[in-house]
Point group: C2
Chain length 430, copies 2
Amino acid sequence: MNALNIAEYMQTLGLQARVASAQMARASAAAKNRALKGLARLLRENVAALQADNARDLERAVAAGLAAPMVDRLKLTPKVLDTCAQGCEQLAAMPDIIGEIIGMKQQPSGIRVGQMRVPIGVFGMIFESRPNVTIEAASLSIKSGNACILRGGSEAIESNKALALLVRQALAEAGLPEDAVQLVQTTDREAVGQLITMPQYVDVVIPRGGKGLIERISREAKVPVIKHLDGNCHVYVDDPCDIDMAVTVADNAKTQKYSPCNASESLLVARGVAQAFLSKIGAIYAAKGVEMRGDDAAVQILRSQAAINSVATVVPASEQDWSEEYLAPIISIKVVEGLDEAIAHINRYGSHHTDAILTRDHMHAQRFLREVDSASVMVNASTRFADGFEYGLGAEIGISTDKFHARGPVGLEGLTSLKWVVLGQGEVRL
Amino acid sequence: MNALNIAEYMQTLGLQARVASAQMARASAAAKNRALKGLARLLRENVAALQADNARDLERAVAAGLAAPMVDRLKLTPKVLDTCAQGCEQLAAMPDIIGEIIGMKQQPSGIRVGQMRVPIGVFGMIFESRPNVTIEAASLSIKSGNACILRGGSEAIESNKALALLVRQALAEAGLPEDAVQLVQTTDREAVGQLITMPQYVDVVIPRGGKGLIERISREAKVPVIKHLDGNCHVYVDDPCDIDMAVTVADNAKTQKYSPCNASESLLVARGVAQAFLSKIGAIYAAKGVEMRGDDAAVQILRSQAAINSVATVVPASEQDWSEEYLAPIISIKVVEGLDEAIAHINRYGSHHTDAILTRDHMHAQRFLREVDSASVMVNASTRFADGFEYGLGAEIGISTDKFHARGPVGLEGLTSLKWVVLGQGEVRL
């Protein structure tokens, strides 16, 4: 397709999505759940066929010399497909939030006023590599009564096409419009440019992928974007605190997994507990091969411990380190005077994602919760908990680092809006 | 100032606003209310001085040949200033929503998760003519714990400067940062261009004014915009309905005031009640000089009534009429087969602002509420109720015709966001 054809093609998808979204908005919970359960069944019934389509993507990926971990992420194993099917069934079992009415109150004029939760309309999802995101996005879209346009990575196009066909079949079998979930069939980049600049058809765009992709989309989009940028998460070890608990949590926040955005990248320690805390956590990090980049005070404490110094890399941190999202076994460490400096440091260098205080002091906990300007603020818990499932949302659309509309882990509610409902008995305005 | 200086100037305002917003976010309810009550007092104490500054704007407006109603809107009379002062006092009396924690629930891991309401940060308000908007915006900003940058119309610059000085005095006297409310001191249009493209300093922009201004800002903004475009509001008279009640409400919705965005512009009537309803409402509209633009069926009924036909303008509606926001004594009228056609017509031609059904049928009422895709949907009430005060919000930041973040009348909550709060006892992720 040339650019003109792509524009036309995307407009067609947009119009079809808009039409389907009106039907989805009034679909019954039963029909939506039927589609989700049907999709789960189809995924389980078609494992062999899906793996055959997936094999063509894998061959191409290997031929193109893609790194092994990237090829792995492309794979539709029976286990991956079963997880997708389970996800659909879990969504089907969740209560339907569409149509709920909240806060209905009578006003002095006599009218009763409340708000009804309704689907946002049409969303676009742009993602890379992993084809199971096709099923995740489709199922979230069905459950929330929206229509969606999905644009996956070119490396997974055959897998995505096969999965999208099953979604359409499940929709049709449930009596819902097939166009409620549409996959962009071209891998031309121009299609993304179109998708993010059709406010008449697309109400919100959710990019999932590298920072470069997300920044480009945010810059060029003419529709709202639920975007997730950096996760430079902090753990602040306060004075007073329970040192053993602090060590357990700070260890988990850094080392339970290195790659997630909610893993902690920076450790702040109150001077009063620095010696006791750093000697313990330093030994653990050293044993796990975590490189420590500290300010002068931290480096001095860490290097003074033979058990740490002999096996670990302890180096002075540069100014840049305080802003860094390593996603690796590296952590920056700073000794601070206390709460005020910790809050100021986090608000200055952090990415407003997730930050935790480990403390016994109630007033400090309250101030930290209120004054740290992050999507998730925690007391005595690991930053690794910043996640839609851990928060009890039942599903996660994405994580937002913005303040507008949705902040932090976004559940199904992020794909809805509230409209005002007014019930009267013939009241008029005076 | 030249363009370069303006860019620098606006960046300075932005940085100052960002710094002040952190202080405002942690300000106590008592300090914010002290500032609001202080501002009310200062407004009352400085009536003469404010009128002297206002007179300079008025003189310039008259010399420039501004129309009398425009000059009127510029006037800071003692009554206008007292209304502003009362508004500040009412806000001071309202509960503080900042810091409230909602939905705190324990999760299977043991952590408790909820959401805390916090200020959104910095907002920009762009408005025309009426200088009292300076006080409205400043007081809303103070109450909601935000900082704001205000850009008023050039015709009111002297009045706005004088009012903004009082706001700064009130902030300082309450121990709050003066830069929490800043007025752009230049009338150069380039300042607006800067204000709406500084996402690092401005979290949301709220334009108030004509459609041209709002469209331009939406097109060029690099930050979210709470925008209010058209209000093509419908009243649908269903079958069955209480004809007398329907006549009372349809009359009020159109004629109580012609200029507000929530006045109805289009009347849909179910065929079964068309004869009975149109002959009554037609006589009222005719008596009030409302021009009626109908489809064939409506025109036929209206013209068949001598009492209407002799005094009123009854003309066939063009296709364009169904989309028109008249803001004038004109109404389009269409006879429809019933609920389905009414809903389809509203969703196609309406502006998704406010639409009402007048009915006795419970199922029809439920379907109308759910399926009409508008910010406000009403049963048996006048569209004129679509208003923050009538909805019990206590204050109105603006009205949003978007679905993202805020929809319909926006209260103080529209200037806040919810961050996640996690309370643990040393829990870690497994």
